[in-house]
Symmetry: C2
Subunit: 241 residues, 2 copies
């Protein structure tokens, strides 16, 4: 069954404009047809189309269920956007499929790109959530100054890692130090790496410098590798190994 | 230093046409300039440009070193290509950065795309190898019938896994069953999954059915996740955890 996204479905049983158009104009659904709606917060609703208005299709909720995340610890990936926006859009898609709670685009001293347009990324998150049969949309934050982000993390009950390229800082292997149990924050720097003052601030705030294998990865590849490694270690812990 | 690719550099110290053009026309390198060449087989050569011919630049090798892979077990990923070739090109780039020994594009019963043009993929492998500072180019095989591939794998000293979506077959969690020590072959099916006879043939040939977490992944995402999980488990084993 086709799934639609309506973040406020519980309080307002109407599909947003783009979803309404897709439902009524593209798929030509009619009153009485059944459909599934996710709210991006874990809720999955079985619905019946009540009014096939192409800009504001109204539905009646017949049942609600909750689709839990398939992972337990909360995962936050914070990354300095690449110059090429395609690479960040690709990361947003893949991270949503694989599973992430929050995606943060940082402003770093050496960031080539300082701003990210959230609208396009939001669309990708929604589309990847639907495609991978999830009901939870990752939170998105853009243009967050790195020092502010590091500071905000002090309030989190999470183990914090920073991927760092420069071997002059002592680094551990991520696969050997994350147990798979704790909530986790992973910082991935820009193409030119973090500046010395940024890495110093991260380490002072309790971030553990790590590598993801002895290879040079592009920013978006490092972020995705970090996420896959996190899930692998969570799965391994949960299987009792 | 800019790296060039010349697979036969040891026997014939001349850059291939495209690399010669890049060296002489684009970068305007001149006789006497120094450059680095990789042969895609692990060899890294320091060279001096002897003759700046734009179609066949000739070099003199001044020293040779070997860049070992950063992983020990051999990793083979075999995947049914997606309809959209961009997604396979993306996989080729990312897999090379992260590290893979061989990439095989399969022909399956339910493959949407039956043929892959190797030239474009080869270019991506070379470019990603250079970009990620490797000297080893993954081997590439295209249009391999899946039953032939399964049969060929019987000669390999490797543990074999098949990612399978259909829950009617008993599957293990990949993160819990790969130790990180053995050579490994991972089969990833097409968008419509393997056919029952294909999965039966794989299982009879000793492939272990696995999942990569409880989520629906696109073909290229599953292949990349499998590769990242493999490296994570290898790294973890090597660190003694």
């Amino acid at each position: 069954m086709i799934r639609f996204y309506a973040p406020d479905i519980e309080s307002d049983p109407v599909l947003p404009e783009a979803e309404s158009a897709h439902c009524v104009r593209v798929l030509r659904m009619r009153e009485g047809d059944t459909l599934e709606i996710v709210d991006g917060k874990g809720g999955l609703y079985s619905c019946v189309l009540k009014s096939a208005r192409p800009k504001a299709a109204e539905v009646e909720i017949t049942s609600k269920s909750t689709l839990d995340r398939h992972w337990k610890p909360e995962i936050i990936i914070a990354v300095a956007p690449t110059k090429n926006t395609d690479r960040m859009e690709w990361l947003a898609e893949k991270a949503t499929e694989i599973g992430v709670d929050k995606l943060v685009f940082l402003n770093c001293e050496r960031s080539v790109r300082k701003t990210t347009k959230p609208d396009r990324i939001e669309k990708i998150l929604v589309s990847a959530m639907k495609q991978s049969l999830k009901a939870l949309k990752p939170e998105l934050e853009v243009d967050v100054p790195i020092l502010e982000f590091i500071d905000d993390c002090s309030k989190l009950d999470a183990i914090k890692y920073v991927g760092y390229c420069d071997a002059s800082v002592e680094r551990r292997d991520f696969s050997a130090c994350y147990s798979g149990q704790e909530n986790v924050v992973i910082l991935i720097g820009p193409e030119g790496d973090f500046s010395p003052s940024e890495i110093k601030a991260a380490i002072s705030a309790g971030f553990i410098p790590v590598t993801f294998g002895d290879t040079r990865l592009r920013t978006e590849t490092a972020a995705l590798f970090a996420l896959c490694a996190t899930h692998t270690l969570i799965d391994r812990f949960e299987s009792g190994r």
